[in-house]
């Protein structure tokens, strides 16, 4: 019986003009989205590799130079683009992909894609994740909104009943039939993405398990949508009304819920303004060690402590360069100030994320969006991980440079490090969180998505006495 139902429903869906037109539109949109994103992705990849190589070359070819000048000369580090950002760009577009590392300052990530575009880009771009998250659910609605209501409208339901149709078999058959076209579209999109990714050799490490996990998350999302759409269709007698209710659900789930969640999170844990944040750091920095001012109170204290510790009466008699030592201590102090304030900011971001994630229960869109970005390594957590790695590297660079002076120069001597010094500095190699780390961090969100599926399936299959 189920076979008959699936076969007949699929026939009806494929013969229906609405599905043909909408599937064609999705196909065209998907092709355009993939083409545009793939091109952008390849450009970014090429730019990343080139910039990374050039930056190192520039750093290494500074020639003989004072290490602290080199510290101020600075260098850029770049966030590698995750292979799955081809499917979901997440927040990468807005957060920037490179950080300028220099002495005394922790800089924000810069050069975001959005910064290179006009204000019109705020209205959104046609990307694969837009197709996956917004358009395919719309296709599910078009396929399924009348899958039950048409049986009532056409009196065919009564013939089915008089033929002895079994309710649960009818539900399973219709559910499978509504799902198959969606799965075909989603599978084709993912296979195309996977083939495109495997064709790129010089960019990121593509892992099949990651794309499979992403596919699984989206399939779950479509299962939930299918359950909801079929549930509404089974409860409403008129197809027109079923369509309107389904579209309202789509708007609420995909557009309203994320904005409500974001506003609530922001209202509960507001971020300080950029100016406030910078002022707090500047004020606290002033109160501590200043590597460029050996006569301030904190520097004097350090000087006295150090002389006492080494049991000497002059910094000239210290076994290292006190200027560089002071500079390093000052760096360490400033790094602590930055760590403290960025830590508070991160804590706030975490709390905002917590509120946002806890609201995953109001729409299946939210957990799917989180998981999609997390698996693609384009979420806010991955951005934090990159900026923290960059800061850690910056502190390490300063330690290396100050240490070089400390070891090789006397107090108040203008030290010039040989040209080969710079190549001894270890390169910045950022590695994105592994799949298992991402999974661990997002277990709760994944559970919410599973709960959504179980709840909607129960609603669909166990609350319909009519059939």
């Amino acid at each position: 019986m189920i076979r008959y139902i699936v076969k007949k429903e699929i026939k009806e869906i494929f013969r229906d003009g609405r599905f043909k037109i909408s599937a064609l539109i999705v196909f065209v949109l998907a092709v355009v989205a993939f083409f545009v994103t793939f091109k952008q992705y390849k450009n970014t990849a090429a730019q990343y590799n080139e910039a990374k190589a050039n930056e190192r070359k520039v750093w290494e070819s500074q020639g003989a130079k004072n290490p602290h000048s080199a510290a101020h000369y600075g260098n850029y580090v770049f966030k590698p683009k995750s292979p799955l950002s081809l499917i979901d760009q997440g927040v990468d577009k807005y957060t920037g992909i490179s950080v300028f590392l220099e002495a005394h300052n922790r800089n924000e990530a810069a050069f975001s894609d959005a910064a290179d575009q006009t204000a019109l880009s705020r209205f959104g771009a046609l990307t694969p994740d837009f197709i996956l998250l917004y358009i395919i659910p719309l296709i599910i609605i078009l396929i399924g909104y009348n899958i039950f209501s048409k049986e009532i409208e056409g009196s065919t339901f009564f013939i089915l009943k008089s033929q002895g149709v079994v309710g649960w078999k009818l539900f399973i058959g219709k559910w499978l039939a509504a799902l198959i076209p969606t799965l075909v579209i989603a599978t084709v999109l993912f296979v195309v993405a996977a083939v495109a990714l495997t064709s790129l050799n010089d960019f990121g490490l593509f892992e099949w398990k990651e794309i499979l996990a992403l596919y699984f998350v989206y399939v779950l999302y479509y299962l939930i949508f299918t359950n909801v759409v079929l549930f509404i269709s089974s409860k409403v007698k008129k197809s027109g009304i079923a369509l309107v209710i389904n579209l309202v659900f789509w708007v609420l789930a995909c557009f309203v819920a994320p904005k409500v969640a974001s506003n609530l999170a922001d209202a509960k844990y507001p971020y300080p303004s950029h100016q406030e944040f910078n002022e707090q750091i500047a004020n606290e920095s002033k109160q501590g060690l200043d590597g460029h001012n050996p006569w301030n109170e904190e520097s004097q204290k350090l000087r006295e402590q150090t002389l006492k510790e080494y049991k000497v009466d002059s910094v000239h008699k210290l076994p290292f360069n006190f200027n560089a030592f002071l500079m390093q201590k000052s760096e360490e102090y400033q790094a602590q100030v930055y760590a403290k304030h960025y830590g508070l900011l991160k804590e706030k971001a975490k709390k905002q994320g917590g509120v946002y994630k806890s609201l995953s229960t109001i729409s299946p869109f939210l957990p799917t969006r989180f998981l999609s970005m997390a698996i693609a390594n384009t979420d806010y957590e991955s951005h934090w991980a990159f900026t923290e790695a960059a800061e850690e590297y910056r502190v390490g660079v300063q330690r290396f440079l100050n240490g070089t002076t400390e070891k090789n120069a006397k107090y108040n001597e203008r030290y010039v490090a040989p040209a080969d010094t710079w190549s001894k500095l270890e390169e910045f190699n950022y590695e994105s969180p592994t799949f298992s780390e991402v999974y661990r961090q997002n277990t709760s969100v994944f559970s919410v998505l599973i709960i959504w599926f179980v709840f909607t399936a129960a609603l669909l299959f166990f609350t319909n006495k009519k059939y």
Binding site: R3, Y4, K8, K11, E12, R15, F158, I159, Q163, G164
Partner: protein, 238 residues
């Protein structure tokens, strides 16, 4: 083949069907006449077990429809007033689907034979039913009964909205079904068609079977007279 004993259906204080006792044997056609709300469709819905009776029993082929909902289904075919079928499927595909739901599978050639027996023109077999008239759609319904080998046919206002020619063709089809020993219950407003094809005629009002005749007991003229009187007077049940 079809039997009801004291069959009653109430919705709160409203009695949709009141103590109906009828029996339709093989090769008999009972035409139930009555205005809207007389209880004709309620009777059919009770026989189909779409709704549960308040009291009394309904039997198909000797089986209580409430106690044996699944066992009674293979014996019957139901054709509602507005049989729309699935518009994007062809006549053959519709027939194949409904038979498949009932657990029966036939070859394409067999399905064509059933449609032919039901009087559908050959060129319509592979056409989508969205272009079919009501008469053509009902022929697909009759083909379903033929293919199933149904012993009971339940028809709810099948001739309403049909042109005289199609109505006549449908009547002929029912006579053939009757000759094939099918028991038929037809709810209708059409006195002329009821007299023409029914072996028995009942007149219902407000859930009560007011009159029950064998066809040869009454002329068309008298039937019309009784019907009109029943609709205007307060009579008691037969």
């Amino acid at each position: 083949m079809i039997k009801t004993t004291n069959l009653t259906k109430k919705y709160g204080d409203f009695t949709a069907l009141d103590n109906l006792n009828v029996e339709i044997k093989e090769g008999e056609i009972l035409c139930l006449l009555g205005a809207n709300g007389a209880g004709k469709s309620t009777t059919i819905n009770l026989l189909l077990n779409f709704i549960a009776p308040t009291s009394g029993n309904a039997y198909i082929n000797g089986l209580d429809v409430v106690k044996n909902p699944k066992k009674t289904k293979p014996y019957l075919t139901y054709i509602p007033e507005n049989l729309m079928l699935y518009p994007t499927l062809t006549a053959i595909e519709n027939l194949d689907y409904f038979l498949g739901i009932g657990g029966k599978s036939f070859s394409k050639a067999e399905l064509k034979t059933f449609l032919e027996e039901a009087g559908l023109q050959q060129e319509a077999f592979n056409k989508r039913v969205q272009f079919f008239s009501k008469g053509m759609r009902q022929k697909v319904g009759i083909a379903l009964a033929i293919a199933k080998g149904a012993k009971v046919l339940l028809l709810d206002e099948p001739t309403s909205g049909l042109d005289p020619k199609s109505s006549n063709e449908f009547g002929e089809l029912l006579k053939r079904m009757k000759n094939a020993k099918v028991a038929i219950l037809m709810a209708t407003h059409d006195i002329f068609r009821a007299k023409e094809i029914g072996t028995h005629i009942g007149i219902m009002k407000q859930g009560v079977l007011k009159h029950y005749f064998r066809n040869d007991e009454i002329t068309l003229q008298n039937l019309e007279k009784v019907y009109l009187e029943t609709m205007t007077l307060n009579n008691t049940a037969v």
